[in-house]
């Protein structure tokens, strides 16, 4: 797929940067003097993590978690951690950095998995949040943008591994999921 399959830019580089500044102000206030483990969900939240974390002035440790769906015999599959955290989060303040929350399914698994490791507290900060028709309503403490349910790429989000490195977020001209 070429770049001309890209549709309208819905969030420009500048707009994303400004919103991240605002989020950082809020986080700096809420987590003042706390030591926080930032957990970035690979790969999509990589850029969001690097841009956001550099604006934070409370002590942070950076960690990464990668999830994947494994197929089993009857092709039903199961979500699994394929790259686990480096640090123990027991008794620690954890802030999950996610790029997009769409159905709430992965979010639910994350909270269950990380929650079982007994952290002091888990909050979630997502750049994009699709609110309509969300299957599970779970608490999201920090949201960059509420967007409509479109297939979007860029700034970490991909279509078949492409477009992650775009500095902005755009729709695909044709939603490949429809």
């Amino acid at each position: 797929m070429k770049k001309d399959s890209l549709g309208k830019i819905i969030l420009s580089e500048d707009l994303i940067a400004r919103r991240i500044e605002e989020l950082a102000v809020q986080l700096n206030q809420d987590f003042k003097d706390k030591e926080v483990i930032l957990v970035s969900i690979l790969k999509s939240s990589l850029y969001f993590m690097t841009d956001l974390s550099r604006k934070l002035d409370f002590p942070v440790k950076l960690d990464f978690l990668e999830l994947n769906h494994y197929a089993d015999q009857d092709n039903s599959g199961i979500i699994r951690v394929t790259r686990d955290l480096e640090f123990s989060i027991a008794g620690k303040e954890v802030l999950i950095i996610e790029n997009i929350i769409r159905t709430g399914l992965t979010h639910s698994y994350l909270l269950k998995n990380l929650g079982s490791r007994n952290p002091k507290n888990i909050s979630i900060c997502t750049l994009l949040h699709i609110n309509e028709n969300k299957l599970l309503d779970l608490p999201v403490q920090y949201t960059g943008f509420e967007i409509e349910d479109n297939f979007v790429v860029g700034y970490g989000l991909d279509y078949q591994e492409k477009y992650r490195n775009l500095p902005y977020i755009a729709k695909l001209k044709e939603n490949p999921q429809l």
Partner: protein, 320 residues
């Protein structure tokens, strides 16, 4: 109910792990002391209790010799019986007691063994009890022998057999927090697909039967159940029916049974992936349900949403 058994070499720190794991996972901890203090006094007199504290052989003694032959129980049988009964109503963490064998075929059990090198264990004993090197080594040898004998006498199994355990953890390279993290991750993973160690044919065929016998009304419901399983989300299929309309005599004339109930999220889900005329009918029922039962959380998954979900998990799936 969920059961975790922990066997440990003396001075490998198994007690500490057991106590902390039970605490973090909210499991009731049962160990030999608990049994000696709470269960055995119900069937043993003072002398017998003293013997039970001292000798593993005494556990094979019959506690009710006056009873009929088939009613007779050894102290070990009694403990096994009480453990099984307790496991029906509580989530348990059992330390020692041969529980890895008693619950070998139980599908919701995980068996862990905690070991450490002799050097590690001797050091532990030296530090804890101020023993000399040789005393500590001797102490270890005796205690290990006692453990092995107990399991052999009662269950005719070699305690050292590694396949009795899902996981054996060596404390030499793992501190408490790391050990707990490993164990808790496995506990988390096995929650959704428990499997006993020994392939039990009866349990297996039962499972297959119940899966294939689950009569989903529609193929999409089966697919949706798979997506939920994939995300470790607990669900029930059509568990409740909500009356929506009544005739003047109070008989229910219209009711609605949502497809799924997500137990941990207290949310009902209705799939509307059928033809349009059914969708309109369903929408009407959902609206009525929301009016009559405003405290009930219900989500509708439309054809488009469902297809996106189904495609997504074939397509890429690493993101939400």
């Amino acid at each position: 109910m969920q059961i975790i058994t922990i066997s440990r070499q003396t001075a490998s720190g198994g007690e500490e792990i057991a106590a902390e794991l039970a605490n973090r996972l909210g499991l009731k901890l049962i160990d030999r002391n608990f049994v000696l203090e709470n269960w055995l006094p119900e069937v043993a007199d003072e002398h017998q209790l003293h013997m039970l504290e001292q000798s593993s052989k005494f556990y094979t003694k019959i506690l009710n010799p006056d009873a009929e032959k088939k009613e007779q129980l050894s102290f070990a049988d009694y403990i096994a019986q009480r453990l099984k009964k307790e496991a029906e109503k509580n989530n348990l963490l059992i330390l020692g007691l041969g529980a890895q064998i008693i619950f070998k075929k139980h599908p919701y059990t995980l068996h862990f063994k905690i070991v450490a090198s002799e050097e590690y264990r001797v050091n532990e004993l030296k530090q804890k009890y101020g023993l000399h090197q040789e005393e500590a080594a001797r102490e270890l040898e005796l205690a290990d022998r006692k453990h092995r004998r107990y399991v052999w006498r009662i269950h005719k199994q070699d305690w050292e057999e590694t396949t009795l355990y899902h996981l054996t953890l060596n404390r030499d390279g793992l501190n408490l927090e790391e050990s707990l993290s490993v164990l808790m991750t496995l506990v988390d993973l096995k929650k959704e697909n428990p499997k006993p160690l020994e392939d039990n044919i009866d349990i297996k065929s039962e499972n297959i039967e119940s899966e294939s016998q689950r009569n989903f009304g529609h193929e999409s419901e089966k697919e949706f159940a798979k997506i939920l399983d994939m995300h470790h989300i607990k669900w029930e299929y059509e568990p409740s029916e909500f009356p929506l309309e009544w005739d003047p005599e109070g008989n229910v004339v219209m009711a609605f049974r949502p497809d799924f109930y997500l137990t941990e999220h207290d949310t009902y889900v209705e799939l509307t992936t059928m033809k349009r005329k059914y969708t309109t009918e369903k929408n009407k029922k959902v609206r009525l349900l929301q009016q009559l039962y405003p405290h009930i959380k219900i989500k509708i998954v439309y054809k488009k949403d469902f297809e996106q979900l189904a495609d997504k998990f074939e397509l890429n799936g690493s993101e939400d």
